[in-house]
Symmetry: D2
């Protein structure tokens, strides 16, 4: 951690920062420049919250030097992770074709399914059945896909659905972006052995994504795949777009496999075929699409 003091910071303010650093088991390293005093905190700065130091008197800025992830970083493991499910390798050399439309299962490498989906429009005739029916439909679909030899990614939308998905022999649990903030659910998933896709939410930066993945890895589950399913766009008619930049960044920073889910990102001005090529150019290891 590097702490930049304000120009006019008093010696007592510097002493206060030094004391805080030592109290957490780190060592200070002071460098007095002409315009600023800069204090390095040597040791494992991950015990600090940046804001914690910025609120001390006389502090202008506190800058983290280490990242908040370790297990999932390329520094910890330079070569790509490979997660193999029913013989299909996520993160191996080949880019996987994952079908969002189940009727294409036989021609795809894997299948994505979203059994607990509930529509977002209050008045769009909701035909979805009870949870019991949803679970039954999920079981049937998984059985069909497994008969065809295909692994299935099952999207869960609530912590209560994990058990039902595992009972139905889901091969991979898919956590949509809205679960990026659900630490309790991540704790549970972190204690499983089942592979899990962690999706970035529409407003998250790449680093938040890596922190969520590390959160799961720390709890013991290292079978993690990163999922990208859209970020905010500025175009008025199309709210979301594929975040190719974030994919490139996490591919360089982490050894985890990355997949893109483009099945809801296309529109009249952006056909799925082009999204597929963009995801490929960004270096993903697989694409969920409803292309036929």
């Amino acid at each position: 951690m590097i702490i930049v003091m304000q120009k006019q910071a008093a010696p007592e303010a510097v002493a206060r920062v030094v004391e805080t650093i030592r109290s957490r088991g780190l060592q200070e390293h002071i460098s007095r420049g002409e315009e600023r005093t800069i204090i390095g905190a040597v040791g494992d700065e991950r015990v600090f919250d940046a804001n914690e130091l910025e609120t001390l008197p006389g502090v202008e800025r506190a800058i983290r030097v280490l990242n908040d992830w370790r297990i999932i970083s390329r520094e910890a493991q330079p070569e790509d992770s490979v997660i193999t499910v029913r013989g299909v390798a996520f993160g191996g050399g080949r880019m996987l074709d994952i079908a969002a439309a189940p009727e294409r299962a036989a021609r795809a490498d894997a299948v994505f399914t979203d059994p607990f989906y509930l529509p977002a429009k209050p008045y769009a005739g909701t035909v979805s059945g009870s949870e019991a029916e949803q679970i039954r439909a999920m079981r049937d679909e998984l059985a069909r896909c497994h008969a065809a030899g295909r692994p299935v990614l099952v999207r869960i939308r609530d912590v209560r659905q994990i058990e039902a998905a595992l009972d139905a022999e889901a091969d991979i649990l898919y956590l949509g972006g809205e679960l990026m903030s659900n630490r309790a659910l991540q704790d549970e998933v972190g204690r499983l052995n089942t592979p899990v896709v962690v999706c970035k939410d529409k407003h998250h930066r790449a680093d938040d994504w890596l922190v969520a993945a590390e959160h799961i890895a720390v709890r013991g589950n290292h079978h993690i795949i990163l999922g990208e399913a859209g970020t905010l766009s500025f175009e008025p008619e199309h709210t979301y777009r594929l975040d190719t930049d974030a994919v490139v960044r996490v591919r360089r920073t982490s050894h985890l496999p990355v997949i893109a889910n483009i099945s809801r990102l296309w529109h009249n001005d952006m056909p799925q075929e082009i999204l597929y090529r963009l995801a490929e150019a960004a270096g993903v290891n697989g694409v969920v699409s409803s292309l036929r």
Copy 2:
């Protein structure tokens, strides 16, 4: 719904759109301009999904005319809703001061508490106890606040926590932005009588917010307060900012009370005092802050 056809759209394409409109119980209204044919769908367009029509051949754009909310709109009720809890009126003329720091309870109008919070940094010494301990602490805090005559807003982070919060006599359930996509939880909250705060997530537009509120209202619970707790910023060091524009828009479009939660939006360049004044200028009915 208004459907703008492509310049070169064939008569069959127009016929196909008309047929789709009629099949859903609406009536068409065709207007042939020099450069474009435009088709109006007269009736309750809420049965349509815009994309549904845009994928028909020859269609350039489908534009919704009606909004996806009705119950919560100012057209349905021109005057402000008022929700009174333990004698405190949300949405009345007075702007409420809601304390995020419980020690200030006695001097505030109401108290906000976040008993199920789990930290987001994998290595930030997590000292949070078990869920049983969280619940016990929540009960104690609510009892203290109620003894002081203050209503309490309890943030829940998962559907399983609703019951515990109600058992502890939570006055208002507070749904953070990450629950905006959780329709199952909204369904449950919609069947309660307890007032609920619906927060916009960091990447949502004002209209998504109103749709989530309507979703709850349709299920029967009309005691809804809109909550704004930050949207994406472009400044590199500060990820989020107060969304004053969205507050202004929903105050004009809906009769629901609106509160702003600024307790996590301040930073070195944006003191809470100014956030408070900005929220007030935008017209909120209450502010959650950790100001003393």
Copy 3:
């Protein structure tokens, strides 16, 4: 133009809108739905400014049906435009490799040069010479490139530089995004026969870009190439990113060639090689890069 009236709009408000429509030479087309009255303005709506109608009493929204461009649209010309300069075809089937580093001229299809660049940091030792020296250096560079048989794109940053660039036999004038708002300069460029690159600025949407191109085309110069050089990113350390979505949109909407300038968009997390592949996947007709 479609005008959606407020629910409670009075008959006088409708009459006022009709009168405004007629006064501009268009015809009205009224459709009274259960919840709203909708008025279509049939004729060339481009004479209206959307805001103009939205400020009339009782109007909820005014929606444009026609785009603000005509000459440059695919409706006007379905096949791609091709602009050939010194034997090199912009917009033909082949993707052009345009060198931002002049030493690579011999191996590239064309050369990009920025002779009038002035650095943006007040204290970064500005070594740039006088304008006379800048012009002399430009002349020399153009002479060398022309000797090697390569066309040159010359970036101008001010209307006063057009003449100097043409005197030096610039093959293509390159207008950076900051000139998107400079209508006076666009007027001058519109009266020339020299091909021109019109770059989208960092905050513009695709439609603003097309409007600027049409502005030039209307004045007579149809030799227009669209240029994409970055849009805002949310990642804190990297301000800009390649706008692949906008490229895809304008390629579908317009027949003009599109090039991407990636020479300033790369950084530690985004190598130029990947930017090149992303631009290619989005369908550009050429890439300006400093790759060797």
Copy 4:
């Protein structure tokens, strides 16, 4: 400047960074942590470009410690600057009311005028006359305002218009955001004594704004007012919004006066009255509006 080395950086890479630092007249200060070596560059880091060091082998990140502005900073001058024009104080205690509609001149503190405006829509009947006519109209308007004792802010859109504006006795030159990238124009303005408003463009961060102001101050003109006229919004129907956060930041970081121009930021969901209150809450020293 602080340089964070990659975990596996070789001693030669460290030596190379040290050499670069010394070659520019600064001193190094090395701190070897367990996971990273960190190098401080002590001295005036403003001679460096951050990218310059990040491209050296073994460097992970280069972080600036000093800001790129000095003259305009609160560190250089803690108290607010006051710029007085025709008896009206910009930056004094009172918030100024600046009329964008000239007919309100008599009741306002100052008048804003945009004589060189050209409309952005190719087909919106352009009624604007020749530049000679624009200049004549500007002269008349300035004469009228001066007769009423009001100072006038004149928006220029091109370097060629400076002279005409000064000839007409413009009191303050107003540079719109699109001129933030025009260093040549800023050079000229920097050599004048006339006060100048420097507007942030829609896509700029607060720091870019301060750099542009410093660029002018370095050249000698210290009569600078910062102007905020909108930044990008996410709401689909309204492209821009008032950047209250940037106003708050620059008010704290700089001693320069700040004004907001809200005359083009209002729309059906955001009345000018509320924009005015928001600007006031953010702490501006004046507001340009078309309120009556």
